[in-house]
């Protein structure tokens, strides 16, 4: 038989719950979660990217300008010193040079931990290349989707060069493909302990301020050096290769863009 609680029992119960909550809150840094901003700075060898008007030079002395830069990063994970992995769920981001808002990615609800590295894919995993009509970053309206050989264009770099033999002196590198032998998905892993710019930082995020408070990462700032695409394992000769829009030559460029990211610095709060 159900009995109704009297007012005293109710009060005791509420009090107990409230006390338990307060205790739990004050003793639970373990359960604390926070958001970290991932910021990406696209550049060419440390120079700002300015569409049309800034001229860059590759290692073989060929001049070029940039007119369009877009790429996907996805499946962002953070790994802590014990090997535990935080996975940012459903993380598909289209970085567009013409939209600064896309260069700030919010990684939400990250449990506290001593994170030593960040990993992500340049491109879109194979499952999401075959998942039909999708929205958001993966909406084909973003013009990053091949319709004749369905799948996402992971990386688009377009520009002009006086040495190009394409009409209008343009070069265009549209890199995609999720299947062997032209799989252009590349995994990037960056060490977060490599940062030495920050004062008071012993290790991440265990660094302590003089008053004993703990430093915590608030943002991870990455540099994406587009020059590495031109000059990596393969040196791209724009005169010979001004257009890559399918699987031919794409993996070589993917091998180059795999190494374009580096950690600039970390920002902290406490």
């Amino acid at each position: 038989m159900r009995q109704k609680l009297n007012i005293v029992q109710k009060t005791i119960m509420i009090f107990c719950i409230a006390t338990a909550s307060v205790v739990a809150m004050s003793f639970s840094p373990v359960g604390e979660r926070r958001n970290i901003k991932l910021h990406i700075w696209n550049n060419v060898g440390g120079k700002e990217i300015i569409y049309d008007n800034a001229t860059y030079k590759n290692s073989t002395g060929q001049d070029y300008t940039i007119t369009n830069l877009k790429y996907y990063i996805s499946n962002i994970t953070l790994t802590d010193t014990s090997g535990k992995v935080f996975t940012n769920k459903d993380s598909y981001y289209l970085i567009r040079q013409d939209d600064p808002a896309t260069m700030d990615i919010e990684l939400a609800d990250i449990p506290m931990g001593n994170y030593k590295s960040i990993s992500f894919l340049i491109g879109v995993d194979s499952l999401h290349n075959c998942s039909g009509a999708q929205s958001g970053a993966l909406d084909p309206v973003n013009a990053m989707f091949w319709t004749w050989n369905t799948g996402y264009i992971f990386f688009k770099l377009e520009g002009k060069s006086p040495v190009s033999t394409s009409p209008g002196g343009i070069f265009e590198y549209h890199i995609g493909g999720y299947k062997a032998p032209a799989n252009c998905i590349r995994k990037v892993t960056l060490d977060l302990n490599g940062d030495t710019d920050q004062p008071n930082m012993v290790n991440v995020p265990t660094g302590k301020l003089p008053d004993g408070k703990q430093l915590k990462i608030s943002s991870i700032n990455l540099s994406a050096d587009i020059a590495k695409i031109m000059d990596g394992k393969t040196v791209i000769d724009i005169a010979k290769l001004s257009s890559v829009t399918d699987f031919r030559n794409a993996p070589a460029i993917a091998d180059n863009y795999q190494h374009m990211f580096s950690l600039s610095n970390l920002n902290y709060d406490y």
Binding site: G132, A143, G151, A182
Partner: protein
């Protein structure tokens, strides 16, 4: 309740019902819940596309049907999906060897029939499309088909009162996105199931075949069914049919997609359902009749290097066997599918 009341109410109901029929925007045919229930035909394998994240609804299907028949999807609003995919031809293009696109342009390949798409593992003659939902993007954006830009199409749809209402009915709000558009079209195309030909009914013991047709089935099973596998009449593989490549078309076939030399001149094995209705034949529509197709296979003169071993089995078909096979192929015509009102042009009165 008095009898008078009952009579009054039922008269009123009748009147409302009649009125609702008259005021219906497209009085041709109204899609109901039953029309959008996907039935797995007896003896068919589990489909590849299961509508898991795209549950068909009458409003969604109706929207998809409208989009399929609406030239708004093409750049200059002249060419619809149905311009080339004619219902009377199992959604192939009768009497057109190569597809016709925008501005009178001629395509590179024969329009394939649309049926049993839910079982497709890839789409297009070269298998370049990996999911039924994104299939419409290919003709929409192809410069010699509909030559559209996806963003422009969405803009046009957003400017249409009809589509604002139709999207709202299908999805609950007026957001018009590519995902919603593509999923609605897929509700329509994915529902195209042909499983009621005389062959199917014969297999289900509901109908008979003549001795001649039955002989055709036996020869077919022996010499054709390895690739044109029952009950879908395709094994979804890519094969070279040994035809002399048309140098003017300069079409590498599946090699375009895979980049592998061994895939040169190979094309998706087409289903033979409703094949009597879909002439002309082959990837480039070079044969007018089934007789010509079988003559090609029987003659055994193959011009490509990578012909499949299965093709050799069809060599030396006798004249009688050819006639028997054709008689059998005609039993694959599915009138219930061809005349299914659900797939009719909704703008046609």
């Amino acid at each position: 309740m008095t009898i008078k009341k009952v009579v009054t109410i039922s008269t009123l109901l009748c009147f409302v019902f009649l009125l609702s029929n008259f005021t219906e925007d497209n009085p041709y045919f109204k899609i109901g819940e039953r029309d959008v229930t996907f039935q797995l035909p007896k003896g068919f394998p589990v489909p590849n596309y299961t509508f898991k994240n795209n549950k068909p609804t009458p409003a969604g299907f109706t929207l998809g049907r409208m989009l399929f028949y609406d030239p708004i999807l093409s750049k200059d609003s002249t060419t619809s999906c149905a311009s080339c995919h004619q219902r009377i031809a199992a959604f192939a293009h009768i009497d057109h060897p190569l597809s016709h696109g925008i501005n009178g342009l001629i395509g590179k390949r024969n329009v394939p029939a649309l049926q049993n798409l839910a079982w497709g593992q890839s789409f297009m003659w070269d298998g370049g499309v990996n999911n039924l939902e994104v299939q419409p993007l290919s003709p929409m954006t192809n410069p010699i088909e509909m030559n559209s830009d996806l963003g422009e199409v969405l803009k046009k749809l957003k400017h249409s009162d009809y589509y604002r209402t139709a999207f709202k009915e299908a999805y609950g709000d007026t957001l018009i996105s590519s995902e919603r558009m593509l999923k609605a079209i897929t509700q329509f195309t994915g529902m195209m199931v042909s499983s009621n030909s005389r062959y199917d009914k014969f297999m289900r013991h509901e109908d008979t075949l003549s001795q001649f047709e039955f002989n055709g089935l036996i020869v077919f099973r022996e010499k054709c069914a390895k690739c044109h596998r029952e009950p879908l009449f395709t094994d979804e593989s890519f094969k070279s049919s040994g035809l002399m490549p048309d140098t003017l078309l300069n079409d590498p076939g599946r090699e375009l997609i895979t980049g592998r030399y061994k895939d040169e001149n190979t094309y998706k094995v087409p289903s033979l359902r409703n094949v009597a209705m879909t002439y002309p034949y082959m990837h480039d529509g070079r044969f007018r009749s089934l007789e010509q197709v079988l003559d090609h296979y029987a003659a055994g003169k193959f011009y490509t290097l990578n012909i499949s071993p299965e093709l050799l089995e069809a060599r030396n078909l006798s004249d009688v066997e050819k006639k028997e096979i054709i008689a059998f192929l005609k039993t694959l015509t599915d009138k219930e599918f061809l005349y299914d009102r659900r797939f009719a042009d909704p703008t046609y009165r």
